[in-house]
């Protein structure tokens, strides 16, 4: 283990050179000053190298005044490029909506075509009945109302099966065919 007395002192061979810290400080200071003041010849006057349109400063003033009026137009209306962006965005939205609508219709019609081709006649009738459920319901309501208005209380009437059987026997089949159309 190293003792405090073992550490070299004075001007022994491994001691810190005289003025070491001063030299380091001066070196850093020199480098900092160099960086601080560094510049390329003639490169500071940058503004004359960028083009500005004639009368631009007055145009800018007008633009600022127009936008800072209390009843100024919304911000985007004063940016031509934002107007373009808004127009392009709107067109994009419309085209997406149209294509989606067309796509949905196409899928639906394709689905229906496929179903009609493969469905049995019973399934088709069921679909049609389902589609016309509202019409059926409405018809039933009208009939019920009409019956109640004519005071024909057929709901509570008990069916006399003997009488019904006689009626059926009296029916002439040919008359039925004559009065109804069959497809």
């Amino acid at each position: 283990m190293m003792n405090i007395n073992d550490i070299p002192k004075g001007n022994q061979s491994n001691s810190v050179p005289e003025n070491f810290f001063e030299d380091q400080f001066q070196s850093i200071l020199r480098k900092t000053t160099e960086l601080e003041n560094w510049q390329l010849a003639g490169s500071k006057d940058l503004e004359k190298n960028f083009q500005v349109p004639d009368g631009f400063w007055l145009q800018m003033e007008d633009g600022i005044r127009a936008r800072s009026k209390p009843n100024a137009k919304p911000g985007f209306a004063l940016y031509p490029r934002l107007q373009w962006a808004a127009a392009v965005g709107l067109l994009l939205i419309i085209s997406i909506a149209v294509s989606q609508f067309w796509n949905i219709n196409k899928v639906q019609s394709d689905n229906w075509s496929a179903k009609i081709e493969t469905a049995s006649s019973d399934e088709l009738i069921a679909v049609l009945d389902l589609e016309r459920a509202d019409i059926q319901e409405l018809t039933e309501q009208i009939v019920a109302k009409s019956l109640s208005e004519n005071e024909l209380n057929i709901q509570n009437e008990r069916i006399n099966y003997d009488e019904a059987e006689r009626t059926f026997q009296d029916l002439n089949v040919n008359e039925i065919y004559e009065n109804f159309e069959f497809n």
Binding site: G42, S43, L46, G63
Partner: protein
């Protein structure tokens, strides 16, 4: 003769002279704001948009300015934030990494339309564009406009020591970029 900031602020607080004060403020600061923006975004139209936005914000918020910092510091803070905001928007709009925005700006520097400086100035601009955005702001303010570190500290909200370190690093990077011969 340019009006003092104090006079502008006093006039702005009186309803009758508010517009006059704003006009004086635009005249006094429009070029400095524009050139700060132009050095950051290179494109004239972008710099114009930024400048107008800065002055519109000043118009609507100057009443809230409490003179804790100088008017110039406050305006530059708004302008710096707007520049960084526009560069960020550019990145987001095109989903580009930082390097590609710099590439776009470098292309503009390389085209005759945007920049008419000699070869040294062009190379310096291209080397500066390789710096990170905030470091570029620090470099531009110190190198081209001789803004003190204390003023910069008020504008960017960063300590003087950090700004010095940032500027020295920026100078070293610019030197290295110029010496590398890649530009």
């Amino acid at each position: 003769m340019q009006t003092e900031d104090k006079d502008i602020l006093e006039k702005f607080r009186i309803e009758g002279t508010k517009q006059l004060a704003f006009n004086l403020l635009i005249r006094k600061y429009q070029k400095r704001v524009y050139w700060l923006a132009r050095k950051m975004v290179i494109d004239h139209d972008d710099a114009n948009d930024i400048s107008q936005e800065v002055f519109v914000k000043i118009w609507f918020h100057l009443d809230e300015f409490r003179s804790e910092s100088g008017l110039f510091t406050w305006i530059y803070r708004i302008a710096s934030n707007e520049c960084l905001k526009v560069l960020k928007k550019k990145r987001l709009r095109f989903f580009l990494p930082i390097g590609d925005v710099e590439g776009e700006l470098s292309d503009k520097i390389s085209s005759e339309h945007h920049f008419t400086g000699d070869e040294i100035q062009r190379k310096l601009q291209l080397a500066i564009l390789k710096l990170p955005e905030k470091q570029r702001l620090v470099f531009n303010m110190k190198y081209f406009e001789d803004i003190t570190y204390e003023e910069m500290s008020g504008i960017l909200g960063t300590s003087v020591g950090a700004l010095k370190a940032s500027y020295h690093h920026a100078v070293q990077k610019v030197q290295a970029n110029l010496e590398s011969g890649e530009i």
